[in-house]
């Protein structure tokens, strides 16, 4: 599977760049090995491992540490080992197979690989094929019926679904869309379990993603506070002008004064 962000959603997809990935892989051993030995040896790869990126890769080929969160053998048939691995972003599964082969003493290589999840976005969630997409687009263009399109495409908010959420008042939305920080008085509803420094999704009361930022206060502190910056905004998603401008820029002040005179 491959999560693809369309147009505006491109601004959000980067938050998944460094999150964990899950794959199902088929490894072929180069000689017969007892199944139990294979299973026990593979267990040794759970945790932090060293990997040197392969020749055919786009990163610098220096030894680096990657974490394997889980590694489960699903099936062994002769020299074929089917397994599921959950790992840190940037782990080379081909390399992992090679290294398992070295430790087993017989050699091994990767035959097939399929990604099953990028963070919380899994294969079970609305998996669509290129054919599905082209069909849905045809029906929309030809008959103006968007039912299939709406089935195959999910709102970009799904990308940030794993984050704690801060819902802001309509009057705070446009300031954030213009790059302002989120101050306490702009907050309407929030997740109860936010810790300081957590990455949070800033959303409207309709559930639209406005921005992604870092909490400068915990939920408890936000509830108690009357002012101050609650969330430092790192990435603005919403276009300016969607919600009304309820704030005054320094440029506006003279005009207001003029109007008062």
């Amino acid at each position: 599977m491959l999560p693809i962000a369309l147009d505006k959603a491109t601004r959000v997809i980067g938050i998944l760049m460094h999150s964990y990935k899950e794959y199902v892989a088929l490894m072929e051993l180069h000689d017969n090995v007892d199944s139990n030995k294979v299973i026990e040896t593979m267990k040794l790869f759970i945790g932090k491992i060293y990997q040197r990126p392969p020749l055919r890769s786009s990163v610098k080929r220096t030894l680096r540490v990657r974490e394997i969160y889980s590694l489960d053998v699903l099936e062994i048939e002769g020299r074929h080992v089917l397994f599921k691995v959950r790992c840190e972003s940037g782990t080379y599964i081909r390399k992992l197979c090679h290294d398992i082969g070295l430790l087993l003493g017989v050699g091994a290589h990767m035959r097939e690989l399929r990604r099953t999840a990028v963070a919380h976005l899994t294969e079970d969630l609305n998996l669509v094929t290129m054919q599905n997409l082209s069909e849905a687009l045809y029906i929309w263009n030809r008959y103006k019926d968007d039912t299939l399109l709406r089935k195959y495409i999910v709102p970009m908010e799904y990308i940030a679904a794993h984050l704690p959420k801060v819902l802001v008042r309509d009057t705070a939305v446009d300031a954030i869309a213009h790059g302002a920080q989120l101050a306490v008085p702009g907050i309407a509803i929030l997740s109860k379990n936010i810790n300081k420094d957590d990455t949070v999704a800033v959303m409207t009361l309709k559930g639209e993603l406005v921005a992604v930022g870092r909490a400068l206060m915990s939920s408890e502190e936000i509830l108690k506070a009357e002012k101050g910056i609650a969330v430092e905004i790192n990435r603005v998603i919403m276009d300016p002008g969607v919600y009304p401008k309820a704030w005054k820029s320094s440029k506006d002040k003279p005009q207001i004064q003029q109007a008062m005179n």
Partner: protein
């Protein structure tokens, strides 16, 4: 209006396997004049604010597949959430 918004937020939490509680700081509703409930965006905007979880064919690279999708929908931008590397193999 905000009940519908909260319902969507709970859908997001469910997708991510979160069981979050929410607390209200200021009890205020949202005006339907501005923005949209994500599932009720007009078609063009719905597409341009969308995510596709693609069953990627094994041959082409992620970048090639993204380029096709971009062309299909006539979009200026599209990006994927794979790895930085061209191929994790």
């Amino acid at each position: 209006m905000k009940e519908k918004g909260l319902e969507f937020i709970r859908t997001l939490d469910r997708i991510a396997g979160l069981n979050q509680e929410y607390v209200v700081k200021i009890d205020e509703d949202t005006n339907e004049k501005y923005g949209y409930l994500p599932y009720e965006r007009p078609t063009e905007l719905y597409i341009r604010s969308g995510l596709i979880v693609l069953d990627k064919p094994p041959g082409p690279t992620s970048h090639e597949v993204v380029a096709w999708v971009k062309k299909m929908f006539g979009l200026e931008k599209a990006g994927h959430g794979g790895t930085l590397e061209p191929s994790p193999m």
